[in-house]
């Protein structure tokens, strides 16, 4: 069965860590009692522990799936895990702003103390959703980052002089969502028309098994309503062809939104793949929207024509499937996440020798990927279940397109003269121009088909 999935790519090199996405998301969706601590969208600094603290450590939280004798099992079914607590998130706070205006005249400047949003009392702020922003708290928080796995301890100490990057996160609207599987009341569903994963607020009774089962900790319990909530991919906006608020307001224009067609029947089998093949096989699930057979199957499955049309112009299709420069976040959780990341290159170390020639660290004209400042292993742990080759492939292509345009702009070469750089990395001039338009000019970032309610796919009623 061919299904359409609305999806997002975030180009991490362009993220400036301004948190505008988080704040606009909060203002639109979670600016209310019960969800004070919830950040449907948040931005983390890496290396770091993220939000909630060390969410990637499933030994602690028990999220996602685990493979047992060739079968997928929810990790929460295998052992008893503790529910994430206020300490794992934070105690939301504001400041006594009124005091700045109403305080008595004193020698000292008036100051506004932090007050808890829960108790309205003064609190000592201990932690926040971005407390380790820009590597703050370095030696304490950074070694706890689970993505160091397989790397030398010595590296941890060096990182702060060498690299950091931002990681914005929303719900991944997975193809094999563990939150959905964990709900005993079947309150969570994946919309058949566009794959958005939603919690039915009339069914939810706040058992919070989804909170535990989501390996990305993107389901938040609302203590006021007693029900759980999560990122809704701004579906009221999506349905009218508008980008989600986080994407619309992104200052760095790092977010790309589009549709991909995929083979629903094979999803479960791919979720059981060996770790090293998870990315490749997930890519394989995405279907070619230009293939007449795929188009026919999609129409038969009730995918509207405007979705098929959008899939052909989808930046996600090109970046994840065709060019292989985008990668899923932690595919080893086996939920088949459908938000992708173009891994960061920054900063490229340029080493010229005495004669102004490129040094030995260059692979033809492109620097050897392993000499980049961000350890490949680190990125591979984060975006490819440890498969370094996937990361190398993506970064090489990103470097190739830079080198291609450098040769044209700086050395004054023609496109055909510079094309060999692309060809070495499996790209064409046409690919490079599309990539340039998208990545550098940030044009046509959103290709969102409007919802065809009259053609809505109906799923059988559930018990």
């Amino acid at each position: 069965m061919v299904r359409a999935q609305i999806s997002m790519v975030m180009v991490l090199d362009k993220c400036i860590g301004c948190h505008t996405c988080s704040l606009t998301c909060k203002n639109v969706w979670t600016n209310r009692e019960g969800q004070e601590y919830a950040w449907w969208n948040n931005v983390e600094t890496r290396p770091g522990v993220g939000f909630p603290k060390v969410w990637e450590n499933q030994e602690k939280y028990g999220g996602g799936w685990t493979l047992q004798n060739g079968k997928l099992r929810l990790r929460i079914e295998t052992k008893k895990y503790k529910m994430p607590s206020k300490e794992d998130y934070y105690e939301p706070f504001t400041y006594e702003y009124d005091k700045l205006f109403s305080d008595q005249l004193m020698d000292q400047q008036p100051h506004a103390d932090p007050i808890s949003l829960y108790s309205d009392e003064k609190i000592e702020v201990q932690w926040g959703p971005n407390f380790d922003d820009d590597l703050a708290g370095g030696d304490l928080t950074i070694p706890a980052d689970p993505n160091w796995a397989g790397m030398e301890k010595a590296m941890y100490k060096e990182f702060k002089n060498v690299f950091m990057f931002y990681l914005p996160r929303i719900c991944n609207h997975c193809l094999n969502p563990s939150c959905l599987a964990a709900c005993p009341r079947k309150s969570i569903y994946k919309r058949p028309e566009d794959g958005i994963v939603l919690i039915d607020q009339t069914r939810c009774r706040g058992y919070r098994q989804c909170v535990q089962a989501c390996p990305y900790k993107k389901v938040y319990y609302n203590w006021k309503t007693g029900k759980s909530e999560k990122c809704i991919f701004c579906y009221p906006r999506i349905e009218t062809g508008q980008p989600p608020v986080c994407a619309l307001t992104c200052v760095g224009k790092i977010r790309y939104v589009g549709v991909v067609l995929y083979d629903e029947e094979r999803a479960l089998e791919v979720a059981k793949a060996p770790e090293s093949q998870l990315v490749a096989l997930q890519r394989d699930l995405i279907l070619d929207p230009f293939d007449p057979q795929v188009v026919r199957a999609a129409r038969e499955a009730g995918v509207p024509d405007n979705f098929i049309e959008a899939a052909r112009k989808s930046p996600i299709y090109y970046m994840f499937k065709k060019w292989e420069i985008a990668l899923p976040l932690h595919p080893e959780f086996r939920t088949l996440p459908m938000v992708f990341y173009v891994p960061p290159l920054n900063p490229v170390i340029t080493i010229l020798d005495k004669n102004g020639k490129l040094g030995a660290d260059y692979d033809s004209v492109i620097p050897t990927i392993d000499k980049l400042r961000i350890p490949i292993r680190y990125l591979a742990n984060m975006f490819a279940a440890g498969n370094e080759e996937e990361v190398r492939k993506a970064l090489k292509k990103l470097l190739a397109i830079r080198e291609f345009f450098r040769q044209i702009e700086v050395e004054g070469k023609s496109k055909s003269e510079a094309a060999w750089v692309l060809e070495e990395n499996g790209l064409t001039v046409q690919d490079a121009e599309m990539m340039f338009r998208w990545l550098a000019h940030s044009r046509d970032r959103y290709v969102i088909p409007t919802a065809k309610k009259e053609l809505r796919i109906r799923v059988p009623r559930r018990g």
Binding site: E77, M83, K86, D200, T202, R205, Y220, W223, R461
Partner: protein, 320 residues
Amino acid sequence: MKISSKAPLALTALLALLALILGVSGTALVTAQVAGIEAVYVQGDIPLDPESQFWQELEKAEIPLVSQNIVYPLAGEGETRKVRVAAAVNDQGLLAIYLEWDDPTKDVPVPGGIDVFPDQAAVQFPVSNESLPYICMGTTEQPVSIVLWRAPDMAETLIAGSAYGMSPEQREALGLHSVPTSPIELLPPEAQVWASEAVWSDGVWKVVIYRPMGSTYELVPSLTLGQEVSVAFALWDGSKGESGGKKSTSAWFTLKLAGPAAPPTEVTETVTETQTVFETETVTETRGGVGLALAGFIVGVLVYTLAVAAYVYLVKPRQQ
């Protein structure tokens, strides 16, 4: 040698069979052990304060509960709990049930309590008294009416099992969503008959839940004085992260709603009483039929067990 090696096997088989019988007929047997719950008749108001002398002095039935172990998610390690139950009815048509159980931690929702699970208790009634519904929250044919109490002081009237036995039109007429939202549904505001008063002190929850006995709503059973109804109980210990299916449940027990002891003198009241007695008789008859059937079944299984045991112990060894 042969006999001694077979003896433990036979014993195990016997025990297993006994366990099976106990499991299948748990209702009847347990009801036989615990005398059941007697709702005392009160002239005038029933004190609703759980700590009042009235409730503290009433004799309570001790109901055993075990961890739910049929559907995922399981409550974890199996354990036995007890809830102490008393009940009262009055001349104004109020039914009050007193529940008391040990819980060293008071778990109530608090601002920011994202990992807090409130303590909960529930009492389940058959919607119709014609036969006893499946103990695990009823079935489509035999729904159950549930009152769910949630700490500190919330009582919800729910329906379980009915969801799929009705057409969308019937459901809408009853104020429910036309498509069931879940197997256990919150009834509309006009059917929220239960209220509660609760106190937690010194590691004990004391909860009084009460409702008017009469009901005009189809999915809330109407109760009458002198009637016997079946009830089952459930408890959730919030400190153990219990919610939903993670709970401890009891078997079915009988709750007898007492009527006025002395015969009334006024003519009008006599009429009322006659009606009550008539209804009681009808109900008892129906229940008697089920009881007989169950008893017959149990006797049958017992005879079968004895026969198997006799065969294993007496006939088999001789043959060898």
